[in-house]
Structure formats: C-alpha cells, structure tokens
C-alpha cells in the first residue's frame, strides 16, 4: 500500500509540474488575445488559426526545407506577425466603427477561411515536425525537454513583451490607448499605427506559440479548434484585456487539464476545465481576479 502511494505521489507531482509547464504556453496564448482585446477592443476568433498557420510554417521550414529550428522560429514569428497586421488592415480596420459583434464575426469568417485554406493547401493529414527532444529524468519523474523548452521560451516571450510595454514609447502608448482612446491624438499618437503595431505584436505572440506548440503536437488544419476554446475560456475567466488575470487563469486551467488528463484522455481534461469555468462564472462572474462588491 505504501509503495503504491509513493508511486502515486510521484505521478501526481509529475502531473502538477507538467501542468505548470503547459500553463506557460497557455499564458502566452492568452497574452496575445488579451493584448488585442485590451488595446483594439476586438476579439480575434481566428487567433488559434493564426497559430495553426504558424505551425505549418514551422513544419515546412524545418521538416520539408531543412531550415534549422532556431533559424525557422524567428521567420515563423515574423510570418504570423505579418498575418496579424494584415488581418487588422484588411478585416478589422474597415469595421472599426461597426458594432463589435460584426468585427468578431468577421474574424470568424477568417477562421473558416484559414482552416479551409490549410485543408486545401496542406491536406487533412497530421504532420509532425520530426524533432524528437530527449526526456529529462528526475528520480522517478519524466519531463520532456520540449515542454521545458516551451515553458522557458513562453516566459521569455512574456518578459520581453512586459519590458516592451514598460520601457518604450510605443509600449506606453499601447497601455494608454486602452484607457482613453479619444485623446491619443493630443499626444501626437496615430491610433491607426498603434493598432497595426499591436496586431503585429499579437500575431508575433501567436507565432511564438506556434513555434512551441509544434514541438508538442502534430499540426493539422483543425488543431485551432482544440487550442481556441481553451484560450477563450482563459481570457474570459481572467477578464478580457486583463493580463495578470489571464496569466493566473492559464495556470489554473493548465493544472485542471493536466490533472484531469492524468485520469483519462486530454479531452476529458478540457471538459473538466469547462465545468470548472461554468462554476467559476457563478462564483466570480467578472473574472478570476475581480474583487467582490
């Protein structure tokens, strides 16, 4: 009995740590979406599809064309950043004065478009980037380097964004614009340019996420459907546009999915997370970090 408990505890610890590692990636996903929402007041329903395209970019660069991973990653980040800016320029900017729901649905159209584009262009098969990273053994526990690497890279990415937002003029303007849109012109700020930069930044974060997720999962045209909903739940639970809330919620969800997945499939972890989300809505409808009035 004691031996069983020991093994169980080790598994539990391993799962908890894996959950934290997974949480880093989820937090990165939530950050990109929150940034877009906080600054432009738009939700990109197709956010996960941008990641999917980025994963294909990585797959083709690394697996098909033989570009080394470290060289492919910046290219992929730039690619998705460009897509983010393009998405804003082509779809969001013409709709800035229409009802918010129209902007959201238009990005839904983009979701459809990107998904089918991937189906047509790359086929429905699953593709693996073909990089097998070793596994780190710590006593009885196993951690894949892919997870450790993605956790570290996600943290570095988030710190980079934080420094950018705190130190630079553009970063300060991005934070300011969410607080008072109308007077930005008085500061000499061209809001259209800041929107475009923010969209590129959000896209760049999606690109970084793509570089990391491609190490963990196979890419296929519908992978966005399993990344998207969980990201949206995290952002809603953390409070849309609330960076810290999204960060905390990401780790909470990652633990639930990880622990739920320990007992059965990953999908059930998602279901559990959704159940948790519904319960949380009753307890803290305004988001995880809100104070109760």
């Amino acid at each position: 009995m004691q031996a069983f408990l020991d093994i169980f505890d080790i598994y539990l610890l391993e799962t908890v740590i894996n959950g934290i590692l997974f949480g880093g990636v989820l937090a990165l996903l939530a950050l990109g979406l929150n940034l877009i929402f906080g600054v432009i007041d738009v939700t990109w329903i197709c956010y996960a599809e941008l990641i999917m395209i980025g994963m294909y970019g990585m797959y083709y660069l690394v697996h098909v064309y033989g570009v080394p991973y470290w060289a492919a990653a910046p290219m992929c980040i730039l690619l998705v950043a460009g897509m983010g800016a393009l998405l804003h320029f082509l779809v969001i900017a013409p709709l800035l004065s229409s009802p918010p729901i129209n902007q959201l649905l238009a990005t839904g159209g983009v979701l459809f478009f990107l998904q089918s584009f991937a189906t047509v262009a790359f086929g429905v098969e699953f593709h693996n980037i073909g990089i097998q990273l070793p596994v780190l053994r710590l006593g009885e526990m196993n951690f894949s380097y892919a997870r450790l690497l993605s956790f570290a890279a996600a943290l570095i990415g988030m710190v980079a964004v934080y420094v950018f937002m705190k130190r630079t003029y553009v970063g300060t303007a991005i934070r300011a614009i969410a607080q008072d849109r109308q007077i930005m012109a008085l500061m000499g700020v061209d809001t259209r340019r800041i929107y475009l930069i923010t969209s590129a930044l959000g896209g760049g974060l999606a690109g970084l996420a793509a570089c990391l997720l491609v190490l963990l999962y196979d890419v296929h045209p519908f992978i966005g459907l399993s990344i998207g909903p969980i990201t949206f739940l995290i952002c809603v639970l953390g409070g849309l546009g609330n960076f810290i809330g999204g960060f905390v919620a990401a780790f909470v969800f990652a633990e639930i999915i990880s622990l739920g997945g320990m007992f059965s499939d990953l999908e059930w972890g998602y279901v559990l997370a959704f159940g948790f989300f519904i319960v949380m809505m009753f307890i803290r409808p305004a988001g995880l970090l809100s104070r109760r009035s």
């Binding site: 003029y169 300060t172 300011a176 012109a185 000499g188 700020v189």
Partner: protein, 234 residues
C-alpha cells in the same frame, strides 16, 4: 500665432460654433469666457484637431492646421490640456508625462522637459511612481498641464482648468498659469470662472451660443456692463 477665420463646427446634426473668428498673438495670454454649452470646449477641440470644422480656416504660424493630420498637430507646437484633465488613470505620473513627449522630436528632449516639469511642479516629482488616477484633482490638473508641457509647445490650450477643483486649488492653478506664461509661452484658456481668468489673461473673447459676442482687453472686459451683470454677479 494662431488665427481662426469664420469657423463652423458641430457634432452630427448639432452645430456648436457659428463663424468664429479668433486670433492669438505670440506671447499673449487670451481667454475665452462664456456660459456652459457656449461651444468653448468645441473651440478647443477644433484647434487641436479632435474634431474637424465644417467651414473656415485655422492657421498656426502660417501652417494650415486643417491640412495637418490630428496626431501631427502637436508638432506644430499646439498642446491641449483637455476638459476634465483626461489623464491615463492607470498609468503612473511619469508614464503620463512620457506620453506627452511621444512625438519623435519631443522624445529627444524628454529628459530636459521632464526636469523642467518637475521643477515647475515639485509635487509631480514626489508622485512620479503613483498612478495618476489616485491623485487629488489639483494634482491631476498639474499632471495634465505637465503632460502638455512635455512636448515643448508654443501654444498651450487650457480647457476649464479650474473645473471641479476646490477654491483654494483654483487659486493655485491660476498662479501656475501666470508662471507658465511668464516663461514666454502663449496661452489660450477657456473658463467659466470669469473673475479668475480675467486676472491672468491680456485679452478675452466672449463666446455665447457658438458666436463671438465681444472681445477686448482684460481690463475692458472687467468694466463691461454685460459681463459684469451676466458673469461677475455685480
């Protein structure tokens, strides 16, 4: 320095300004007085480009303001301290001031301007790391003026700097305006507090129902019967 010629402006179907002519010469302090809803704030917004007039022309030192994109008007040397201060409440004082120096030409002088503003408002230096929204109304007004000064403007537009402030603070704000113009800055100030404003400006315009109804030196305005009756309660 600044010339407005027969400016019409409004929002949607509502017209707020009717053929406004106005001039501010370099080094002057000019006041625009008038009742609530006379179009004073609209006038300020038209000058700084927040709204575009339907008719008329605006020139700043010979440059056509209307041909300049709204976000480039600051670099003509016009800084606008908006009504109700409009600070970024969840940014620190320092970040708010930093936003005032957003223009590339202002960024280069950020450090000197910051020193200048801190010199003018030592209180801001103490509170530099505090969130702007947590300060008192008077401090926020100082921060808003400081933010506008960060761009090293030639013309400062002040929209109701005394609104919502305690009388003793109002006094301080007008003292500040005096000091700022002593430094050689041209000031256009819009106020309901007629008594106070006429003490700091050289000239003033009377704006009523979107039309300029009169103008004169501060002394003349103080003597005018209409103004005495309507605004000074004498």
């Amino acid at each position: 320095m600044l010339t407005l010629k027969s400016v019409d402006a409004g929002y949607g179907s509502f017209q707020a300004l009717f053929g406004v002519d106005l001039e501010v010469k370099a080094g002057e302090a000019v006041g625009v007085i008038g009742p609530n809803g006379a179009g004073k704030t609209t006038l300020m917004r038209v000058i700084s480009g927040l709204i575009r007039p339907r008719k008329g022309s605006i020139a700043m030192q010979g440059t056509d303001v209307l041909a300049t994109p709204a976000h480039r008007i600051v670099s003509l040397g016009i800084a606008h301290v908006p009504e109700n201060r409009r600070l970024f409440p969840r940014l620190t004082v320092e970040d708010n001031l930093k936003m005032g120096a957003f223009m590339p030409e202002a960024r280069r002088h950020h450090d000197e301007r910051l020193a200048f503003v801190f010199d003018l408002f030592p209180r801001m230096k103490e509170r530099r790391h505090q969130l702007a929204g947590t300060m008192s109304g008077g401090e926020q007004q100082m921060c808003a003026i400081g933010r506008a000064l960060m761009s090293d403007p030639k013309l400062l537009l002040l929209d109701e700097p005394s609104a919502g402030l305690a009388p003793v603070v109002v006094q301080q704000v007008f003292e500040l305006v005096k000091r700022i113009r002593a430094g050689g800055l041209t000031v256009l100030i819009v106020e309901q507090n007629v008594q106070q404003v006429l003490r700091v400006v050289d000239r003033a315009y009377l704006l009523e129902a979107g039309t300029i109804r009169g103008s004169g030196t501060a002394a003349e305005m103080l003597q005018s019967d209409t103004i005495k009756q309507a605004y000074l309660g004498v």
